[in-house]
């Protein structure tokens, strides 16, 4: 892990306000930001551990523990609510209770005319997702992994 951190630190050494970019890179590489990374980041940026911890825990995007094999973000904001996202989120939570696909709520994916919307592992988006379509997508995901 130290090598990974050092490579990331080197990349951002001359960037003003580098804490968020560093946390993003660590999460991108490792899937989350481990506790062990916090004192290293603090040392690199000449901050206290409390300051790094504060930033890490303030933002919803950063994780402090490993995610599931896949993360499914279900949009729970108003525009998707108007198209039945609450039922979808409840269905998803029940469907994904066990297994290594994790569900997280997200507040707006910018797909507000074609909701309910979901995002699988950051880049894959799906619109007008019914519970049936959701199950089909999860089956495909489980088969692939």
């Amino acid at each position: 892990m130290l090598n990974t951190l050092n490579a990331i630190f080197a990349k951002h050494r001359h960037q003003p306000g580098a804490l968020l970019p560093i946390l993003h890179d660590i999460q991108h590489e490792l899937g989350y930001v481990p506790d062990l990374a916090v004192p290293e980041i603090a040392k690199e940026l000449n901050l206290s551990r409390a300051e790094v911890h504060g930033v890490l825990t303030y933002y919803h995007h950063f994780r402090q523990s490993p995610p599931g094999k896949h993360v499914v973000h279900v949009c729970c904001a108003e525009a998707c609510q108007a198209n039945g996202s609450e039922a979808l989120a409840n269905h998803a939570a029940t469907r994904l209770l066990s297994g290594d696909i994790k569900m997280e709520p997200v507040y707006c994916l910018g797909l507000c005319s074609i909701g309910p919307a979901i995002q699988i592992d950051e880049l894959k988006l799906h619109a007008r997702v019914t519970p049936e379509k959701f199950d089909k997508l999860m089956q495909e995901l489980e088969v692939r992994s």
Partner: protein, 497 residues
């Protein structure tokens, strides 16, 4: 010569299968031995037609949509590359009334051009604003933007020229241009569409702002929920070459905090801190990013600037009504039949947008409530649908236009539940700096829960709490959460019984 086929790479089109359609088109073209080039354009913003495939033919640019993978073989059998007849054929998309009735100014190139090509951008009129700005003095640019009547499109509607003048008049060795692309309001996606569909327009707007105030460094703070927009911006910047001279732009990825859309919280976040709201004064225009004078503008504000320079202030100012000049890209969202992007001059009514453009609800049931301006915007009942789309007209009825997001709900909506959600959202997203917002929102959820359980005598308490939040909070997060709550309570009282 190869045939150009447009398959949108816009996130909404991707969510409806555009990538798979693009692959199917390549495969089918190879099978038919056709030499094609696929361009991943932005979206035209007619989302019920996405993925919307367009082909350059002898008859012009012919659209087909919504195209699924299953449709592709029959499209090729029908000679799509020559604009052949097919049940999905729409003809020239710009003659469709949804687009023909619009006045696309800021969004004129979105969905039309190849967002990854600077030369295509220039071919469609891009770059002229910057060229002109380079021959003007800073004061002249600021004057022109002031004269255009452009007001901040992020929601607060502060006159852009006046903000720029403050930064210009403040002396400092380093100044910054910050683009607020933390488009967190539900029901909004116009920023995303510009970044994905016409990134050079935003970049040009920032470079002009740099010339106007004397800044050579810019940041675009984009929400992490928009990975495709981030990629499009970075790709555009990578291939910009020396187009921007010594003006440098860095894309910063946000991290999922809604309150970072508040300008001072956003600056804190770029500086690497928790996104906590700062007290004002000092204004960011005087002491902003890293303590330096900073222009902070929304994507649409900055993307409007190149055209204002190229076409002149009067051209923009002549559109609109009252003190709301120019156009606003409205976003029709939620339970709406024809959801999408509608850029029109200020002055239409909400009803015209909802029915003439939107076609009423998607579910087919009557529209009951419409939230305008994001999670901090008021819910409007049917009796207010004739309100004119104008900043002042909305303020007069206790509502806001905000960033132009319009979320429609049919008659199955429970407005007490929506009021509760507004408080809950504030509790989740509050930065925690001021008490009315941090604690008021949690108490608000509790009070609404008690009211919904039958304790109607608590309604005055909810109103009291809203008053405290409105007048006691530091920023819009706490002070505007009462908008959706009180409008729900005032216009949909029956849901609280």
């Amino acid at each position: 010569m190869s045939i150009t086929i447009f398959v949108p790479g816009d996130a909404a089109a991707l969510a409806l299968g555009a990538d798979e359609v693009a692959v199917a088109i390549s495969t089918a073209a190879a099978k038919h031995k056709l030499d094609i080039e696929i361009v991943r354009n932005g979206s035209r913003g007619l989302f019920w037609l996405e993925p919307l495939v367009e082909v350059i033919t002898e008859q012009g640019r012919i659209a087909y949509g919504p195209v699924t993978v299953a449709d592709v073989p029959s499209l090729f059998s029908a000679n799509i590359t020559r604009g052949g007849k097919h049940s999905l054929r729409l003809g020239d998309i710009e003659t469709l009334s949804y687009l023909a009735k619009q006045k696309r100014v800021t969004m004129s190139r979105v969905g039309v051009i190849d967002p990854a090509s600077l030369s295509d951008y220039r071919k469609h009129g891009g770059g002229k604003g910057l060229e002109l700005a380079q021959s003007m003095t800073s004061a002249e640019i600021v004057r022109l933007v002031t004269d255009s009547g452009l007001r901040g499109r992020g929601g607060a509607a502060f006159p852009t020229g006046i903000k720029w003048k403050t930064v210009l008049d403040t002396t400092a060795d380093q100044k910054y241009i910050v683009c607020n692309a933390d488009e967190g309001d539900s029901g909004t996606f116009s920023d995303r569409m510009v970044m994905e569909g016409d990134p050079y327009c935003l970049i040009e707007g920032m470079a002009i702002a740099g010339l106007a105030v004397g800044a050579n460094k810019g940041y675009i703070y984009v929400r992490s929920e928009y990975p495709h927009a981030i990629a499009a911006l970075n790709a555009a910047l990578d291939s910009a070459g020396d187009w921007l001279g010594d003006f440098q732009i860095e894309v910063r990825k946000a991290a999922g905090a809604y309150v970072c859309g508040e300008e001072t919280a956003l600056l804190e976040s770029i500086e690497g801190k928790r996104g906590i709201v700062r007290s004002k004064p000092p204004l960011p225009a005087i002491s902003g990013l890293f303590g330096q004078p900073t222009v902070i503008n929304n994507v649409i504000s900055l993307a409007s600037v190149p055209d204002i320079l190229a076409q002149g202030a009067a051209n923009y100012r002549d559109l609109g009504v009252g003190r709301s000049r120019g156009t606003l890209p409205f976003q029709l969202a939620g339970n709406i039949k024809y959801g999408g992007l509608v850029e029109v001059p200020f002055g239409l009514t909400l009803r015209e947008l909802l029915y003439d453009f939107g076609g009423g609800s998607r579910s087919g049931r009557p529209l009951r409530a419409v939230q305008v301006g994001g999670p901090l915007g008021a819910y409007l009942p049917e009796s207010q649908f004739d309100t004119m789309l104008d900043y002042e007209a909305f303020a007069a009825i206790g509502a806001v236009l905000g960033h132009g997001g319009i979320v429609a709900f049919d008659d199955t909506v429970d407005m007490a539940k929506q009021a509760r959600y507004a408080m809950k959202f504030c509790a989740i997203e509050s930065c925690g700096k001021c008490t009315p917002c941090r604690i008021g929102s949690t108490r608000g959820v509790e009070v609404i829960d008690r009211i919904r359980a039958g304790a109607h005598e608590q309604i005055p308490l909810l109103r009291d709490l809203c008053e405290t939040m409105t007048y006691g909070s530091m920023c819009a997060m706490g002070s505007m959460t009462p908008y959706p709550v009180l409008s729900a309570l005032n216009h949909f009282q029956e849901d609280f019984q």
